[in-house]
């Protein structure tokens, strides 16, 4: 059963810690609970999005630096 990681807050989603650095995770990567998978920028502050279930990254449902709403699905994990 696929697991959805949702944005806890509205803002802008980033897949990288900073523009010059590589992405946190790629499709196909194995992740464990507590891994950082992205950042949400809200009102000029940054908040890490943590993985809340172990699995493999199946897809990113949103592009890097696109706006997100609270509750929007960011990533889908395969168990």
């Amino acid at each position: 059963m696929a697991h959805e990681i949702k944005s806890p807050i509205p803002g802008t989603f980033y897949r990288r810690p900073s523009p010059e650095e590589p992405v946190f995770r790629n499709v196909g990567d194995t992740v464990v609970v507590g891994d950082t998978i992205g950042l949400i920028e809200v009102m000029k502050t940054f908040h890490e999005v943590k993985v809340d279930a172990a699995g493999t990254v199946a897809s990113f449902e949103i592009e890097d630096s696109d706006p997100v709403t609270a509750g929007q699905v960011l990533v889908i994990l395969d168990p």
């Binding site: 807050i9 802008t12 809200v42 009102m43 000029k44």
Partner: protein, 465 residues
């Protein structure tokens, strides 16, 4: 007055403030906005509005070409940059002038000069303004920087020469941490601004933040007295006052005159603020930096001087000489401003964008609320969390504190968490009442009193619900 139509290149409460000043002067207004801001109050009240791009600031409020294109399309004579965004970009000011328009602020060259912390510090020293002991210029060699730091004495503050807004400043306690932090600061500055130069100065442990408002027309400069902004969290001001009760009359005079002298010495034009650290223990003040724009907290100065600073800066930009003489700028009573942010003080000041479902605005004698809200307004997540500023005036600080209590009790913002409740607690705190505070007082106080603040916010939440 050469300005008949003004473009406002900003958003939120300051855009509303600029439109009001322009309208008082009989000037038509054009409000530019991002796609996310089509419903903002400034768009509603401006004569015209132009969509300049996507929500991201880099593609809208920082997009020089889009703003200049909007200016050409609407036939404005001038652009007001507000604060933040392009307000302190010398290149933007120069581009506006090159396009044959008026930039409401100093020239691009003056912005660049005073925006370079090391250069500004040298100009201040030359004008006779005391500076904090530090590196006399930008340092690019980190070995040399470490030697300088040891000479200045720890703790020292490391700033990017090209940075600003209090962000990215690091404090090193000793040689070891200096080596690491200076390297970080330098590479970060190189990535962000293309210049890895840093600037070092001694940390004054218990300092007040005192700043002087100035107005200048390129020939003459006057000061409009000082503001004290010592209550800060993460180097962002949360509460500001005018005047500062920490200063005796002779020190106030020397401090304020030094700011006007500095402005005059660089041929400054428009409104600006010279910032200082004031050491209670020694009575010394030290120049930190100059902000070449209108500031968030300008209303407390307006409340005690009776001036309209935004209108004055527009008049100066329109070619009028200073209308006010120094001896006519007085101080009447006391004013306090608190910043109402969309942040939750009971949850580590987590930003809380959302929709305003209910709004009661406090009014009455001595109360002013500069804000960008209306019932049904959806606060977007893409920008600063400042919703508005509650400003009070009274015949004394005590009277102003009482009015602040009255105004806070009348203020009601439903639908999202704000910092309003925090100020009622702060207002009742012994150190705040007796003004026994400094720039590093608020953060530890918030740590210590976190549970009490959460409990208070909870109760407030229940009564609102």
């Amino acid at each position: 007055m050469r300005i008949k139509k003004l473009l406002v290149a900003n958003r939120g409460e300051i855009a509303v403030r600029v439109i009001r000043a322009a309208r008082d002067l009989g000037i038509a207004t054009v409000q530019v906005h991002s796609e996310a801001d089509a419903g903002m109050l400034a768009v509603r009240i401006a004569d015209e509005a132009v969509n300049i791009g996507p929500p991201r600031s880099a593609e809208s409020y920082l997009n020089r070409d889009a703003i200049l294109a909007a200016a050409r399309a609407t036939g404005v004579d001038a652009i007001h940059p507000g604060y933040g965004f392009l307000s302190e970009s010398g290149a933007f000011a120069a581009a506006v002038e090159k396009a044959g328009l008026i930039f409401v602020g100093p020239s691009g060259a003056t912005i660049d000069l005073m925006g370079d912390k090391a250069a500004a510090r040298m100009r201040a020293a030359k004008a006779g303004v005391p500076t904090v002991p530090g590196s006399d210029g930008v340092v690019r060699d980190m070995v040399e920087a470490a030697e300088l730091a040891a000479g200045i004495g720890f703790p020292v503050m490391i700033k990017a020469a090209a940075g600003g807004g209090g962000r990215g400043i690091r404090i090193a306690e000793d040689t070891d941490s200096f080596g690491r932090l200076a390297h970080q600061a330098s590479s970060e500055a190189r990535a962000a601004f293309g210049d890895g130069g840093i600037y070092i100065e001694r940390v004054i442990e218990r300092a007040r933040h005192i700043e002087v408002q100035i107005l200048a027309d390129g020939t003459d400069a006057i000061h409009c007295w000082e503001r004290e902004c010592s209550l800060q969290r993460r180097r962002q001001k949360v509460w500001e006052e005018a005047p500062s009760l920490a200063l005796d009359p002779a020190t106030r005079e020397r401090l304020c005159v030094s700011a006007a002298d500095l402005a005059r010495s660089v041929g400054y034009t428009g409104a600006g603020t010279v910032e200082y650290l004031y050491d209670d223990a020694t009575g010394d003040f030290h120049f930190i930096e100059m902000n070449t724009r209108i500031q968030v907290e300008h209303p407390v100065t307006e409340m005690v001087t009776g001036l309209d600073l935004v209108a004055e800066m527009i008049r100066i930009a329109g070619g009028e000489p200073l209308r006010i003489r120094q001896k006519d700028v007085g101080i009447d009573g006391h004013s306090i401003e608190v910043r109402i942010n969309a942040e939750d003080p009971s949850n580590e000041f987590m930003p809380c964008p959302g929709t305003v479902t209910g709004l009661d605005v406090p009014t009455g004698p001595g109360v002013r609320f500069d804000h960008a809200l209306y019932q049904g307004y959806a606060v977007p997540p893409f920008y600063d969390s400042l919703l508005g500023k509650l400003i009070v005036h009274g015949e004394s600080r005590e009277a102003a504190l009482a009015r602040l209590g009255r105004a806070l009790a009348e203020l009601r913002i439903e639908g999202l968490a704000t910092t309003a409740g925090l100020f009622e607690v702060l207002r009742g705190t012994k150190e705040v009442r007796s003004n026994a505070i400094h720039t590093r007082w608020l953060e530890p106080w918030l740590e210590t009193n976190g549970a009490m603040i959460s409990g208070m916010m909870q109760r407030e939440g229940e009564t609102v619900a």
